[in-house]
């Protein structure tokens, strides 16, 4: 079965009418197709390791999967390769290189060799300069690559990390409880949060 056909089945809801065993087979096939990612095309192994470390620091694995589980680095490689133009790709890669410059200056080590504490300090620094820079630009559009946000390496990294995670199946369903077909609308529902907390 081609990926296109799998998507079509999901799109039409036809999968809902299949026998459970067949449904599982289709789902497994879809999974295999998605897992069959090409190897990295823009990031080199060191850059990839740095991106993974930063992404996992932002959204770590807890009782739910984290950024690495969701394949954030592979997604970032895809975007750098097939989505951004050369200028934006260089903004990202230059910014990534500066992360190591900073960690070398501060701790005489590459970012990936730093302790979690040291890595955290660098993220705090990056966050502060991102906010200082963004304070002036109110017109930020999430899917607009021409928005000012994309001139800041850390903003790009956060944007792509969060997108990769929250649009992944694990991030969307485990973390956000996203349902493809909610079947109802309630505009003022009581949060189930208290219920969850009392169960624990």
């Amino acid at each position: 079965m081609e990926r296109r056909d799998v998507l079509r089945l999901l799109a039409t809801g036809a999968i809902l009418h299949l026998a459970p065993s067949k449904m599982l087979a289709v789902a497994a096939e879809a999974r295999a197709l998605l897992d069959n990612q090409p190897s990295l095309r823009t990031l080199n192994p060191h850059q990839d390791a740095t991106v993974k470390a930063m992404a996992e620091l932002i959204l770590p694995r807890t009782d739910t999967p984290g950024a690495m589980d969701a394949g954030a680095s592979a997604f970032i490689d895809l975007i750098l390769t097939e989505w951004y133009d050369e200028v934006q790709r260089n903004v990202f890669l230059d910014g990534l290189a500066k992360v190591d410059s900073r960690s070398q200056a501060l701790f005489a080590k590459d970012f990936i060799d730093c302790s979690l504490q040291q890595q955290g300090d660098i993220l705090i620094d990056l966050g502060d300069s991102m906010v200082a820079r963004m304070r002036k630009s109110r017109d930020y559009h999430f899917f607009d690559p021409d928005s000012d946000i994309d001139t800041d390496f850390y903003a790009i990294l956060r944007r792509l990390t969060l997108t990769a995670y929250y649009t992944s199946e694990a991030g969307a369903t485990d973390e956000l409880h996203f349902e493809i077909i909610p079947g109802r609308y309630q505009g003022c529902a009581a949060s189930s949060l208290d219920e969850e907390t009392s169960k624990k």
């Binding site: 999901l10 799109a11 807890t62 990769a164 529902a189 949060l193």
Partner: protein, 562 residues
């Protein structure tokens, strides 16, 4: 078997109005050919509303390089995303030109269903405040109809379409025959109450009136709140020609739907003074085919229908068929939008939204209804919605780690947006013509569009920001951010007025039944027919006018008058 080329009726276009013409004409017994320039749509294959982001290559961020190259204009439309971009044309294949200093954003869909697949679904009746506006202000020409003429036709189409909404009894926005309304959320209820308290009965916030079913209706299922209607709907819960009118026409056995049929021109017999049919370029073979019929309905959109007529010039009509008035292509209008305000609504932290309601709020026009505003004519209505911020808020935050992740697993603060849609005045100097220098891939001359906002539209847009901000301030909202953004005309995708109706053949193209003054068996029932623009979304009115025109045309045919 050779293809039949003779029919009772030809309908050009299969979208919002073409679907209605197809349904009405076939149900009234006419053997009808429906010509669509684009490809066929098979819901089971083409609809993608249930494909989750994780199955999309770019996770919903869109195929940017493809779009920058092939859809530089279409990609700016909110609905033209990674899922739905296939329902929008490639700009590279469907060019148009503009005057250098007058940008116009033409958002187009060429497929069976046209733009009814991706439309906004907002459905409102016009009132005599609208139909009398030109006469009252001495602008353009008077509408040849009044609310009483169209009211039964609103009833008629609404009964078929299914419009959910709340009855308010307002004279400036007559109630439809409603299905139960969708629910307002916490922020919307809050703003509704505060506005009612501070602005008396003058400003009313209600749920959007939408062509989306809140209960099963005529064989179509109630909405299941998956959210993105513009990707299609396998349960046919929102109205489109593919979901509703074309299947009804198909059921009669009298419709021939022909995709890949690019209409080149309308043929005209100067002796009988009738249209004899249309010339078509087959989109696949590029062969030219002539189809003949007793009556021709142009439902190809305000701009495309006019383009066909310009391309149908004869010795008698050198400036375009049915254009003895000289008004064909003129008086192009679109609604002015992008004025309003955003704010944070404090409180309600323990309440959440379940499901994705494909509809927002509506605030009917309140300017120039009872009293006269000093700065502008006409008025605007607000759309908008309340919502809780999602995970994307975390991008611009500086947090990281387990606590940060946990905070994003819950919705953020409640936000509320008022977003205005304002009336555009008809202006003879906003017009389209055939571009003398460029042709499309079929060899048909492209349109050249000349359109710009007037000071009245800009004044409306400024006032949207002011009145939205003052309501949010009165409501006690925080972080109020008014906005009034200059956008090129066309971008509200409500283009209309290019073949206006009117009482006088010297100053209008169509009579009160959408019938060309010059050619009795030629009808235009898309947005081209509009004489003024109102501030409400136009599709419901296009539908009612189309059904009304079909009824008239068939009566006239029976009398032998066409």
């Amino acid at each position: 078997m050779s293809e039949s080329t003779t029919f009772d009726a030809i309908v050009v276009g299969s979208g919002m109005t073409g679907g209605w013409a197809a349904k009405e004409l076939t149900e009234k017994g006419l053997k009808t050919l429906v010509l669509e320039a684009g490809r066929p749509i098979v819901p089971e294959q083409d609809y993608v509303e249930h494909v989750p982001a994780w199955d999309m290559k770019f996770r919903g961020m869109g195929d940017r390089r493809f779009q920058l190259k092939d859809q530089p204009i279409q990609r700016t439309c909110y609905a033209c995303d990674e899922w739905s971009s296939k329902f929008f044309v490639k700009d590279t294949e469907h060019p148009y030109t503009t005057a250098p200093d007058k940008p116009f954003r033409w958002i187009r869909g060429r497929q069976v269903g046209g733009r009814s697949i991706m439309w906004g679904r907002q459905s409102y009746r016009w009132s005599d405040l609208d139909f009398e506006a030109n006469l009252r202000d001495g602008i353009g020409v008077d509408w040849p109809i009044r609310y009483a003429d169209i009211e039964p036709w609103y009833d008629y189409v609404e009964d078929f379409v299914g419009i959910s909404g709340e009855a308010l009894g307002l004279p400036q926005l007559p109630d439809s025959k409603f299905l139960p309304p969708m629910e307002l959320n916490c922020a919307e209820k809050f703003v509704r109450e505060k506005v009612a308290k501070h602005f008396g009965g003058e400003r009313v916030l209600t749920i959007g009136r939408a062509a989306i079913l809140t209960q099963n209706h005529r064989g179509r299922a109630a909405c299941h709140y998956c959210g993105p209607c513009e990707r299609g709907c396998i349960t046919r819960s929102y109205f489109s020609s593919v979901n509703a009118t074309l299947p009804a026409a198909e059921k009669t056995g009298r419709m021939t739907l022909r995709p890949f049929s690019v209409v080149h021109s309308v043929s005209f017999d100067s002796k009988t003074r009738r249209a004899t049919g249309v010339r078509v370029i087959d989109g696949k073979t590029r062969a030219t085919i002539e189809f003949r019929a007793k009556v021709v309905f142009l439902c190809a959109s305000a701009l495309e229908s006019v383009r066909i007529l310009f391309n149908s010039s004869t010795g008698e009509f050198p400036g375009g068929l049915a254009n003895s008035s000289g008004e064909l292509g003129h008086n192009l209008m679109d609604h002015v939008k992008a004025g309003g305000a955003d704010a944070t609504i404090p409180g309600f932290e323990d309440q959440v939204i379940v499901g994705r309601r494909p509809n927002g709020i509506y605030m009917p026009r309140f300017r120039n209804v009872k009293s006269r505003h000093p700065d502008f004519l006409r008025g605007y209505a607000f759309q908008g919605s309340g919502s809780r911020e999602g995970w994307a808020r975390g991008i611009m935050q500086t947090g990281f780690g387990p606590e940060f992740k946990k905070s994003l697993s819950r919705p953020g603060p409640w936000r509320f947006t008022f977003y205005g849609f304002g009336e555009c005045l008809p202006n003879h100097n906003n017009f389209v013509e055939l571009d003398k220098e460029t042709v499309d891939i079929w060899g048909i001359p492209n349109l050249k569009i000349h359109c710009a906002w007037s000071e009245n539209e800009r004044a409306l847009r400024r006032d949207m920001a002011i009145s939205a901000a003052e309501m949010l301030a009165a409501a006690g909202a925080h972080d109020i951010e008014p906005f009034s953004t200059e956008e090129p005309p066309g971008f509200t995708i409500h283009e209309m007025g290019t073949a206006r109706m009117g009482r006088d053949p010297k100053t209008s193209v169509l009579n009160s039944f959408n019938q060309a003054h010059d050619i009795k068996n030629l009808f235009i029932t898309d947005g081209g027919a509009m004489v003024s623009s109102s501030c409400v979304n136009p599709s419901l009115t296009y539908m009612a006018l189309t059904a009304r025109a079909c009824d008239y045309a068939v009566q006239q045919m029976k009398k032998g008058a066409l």
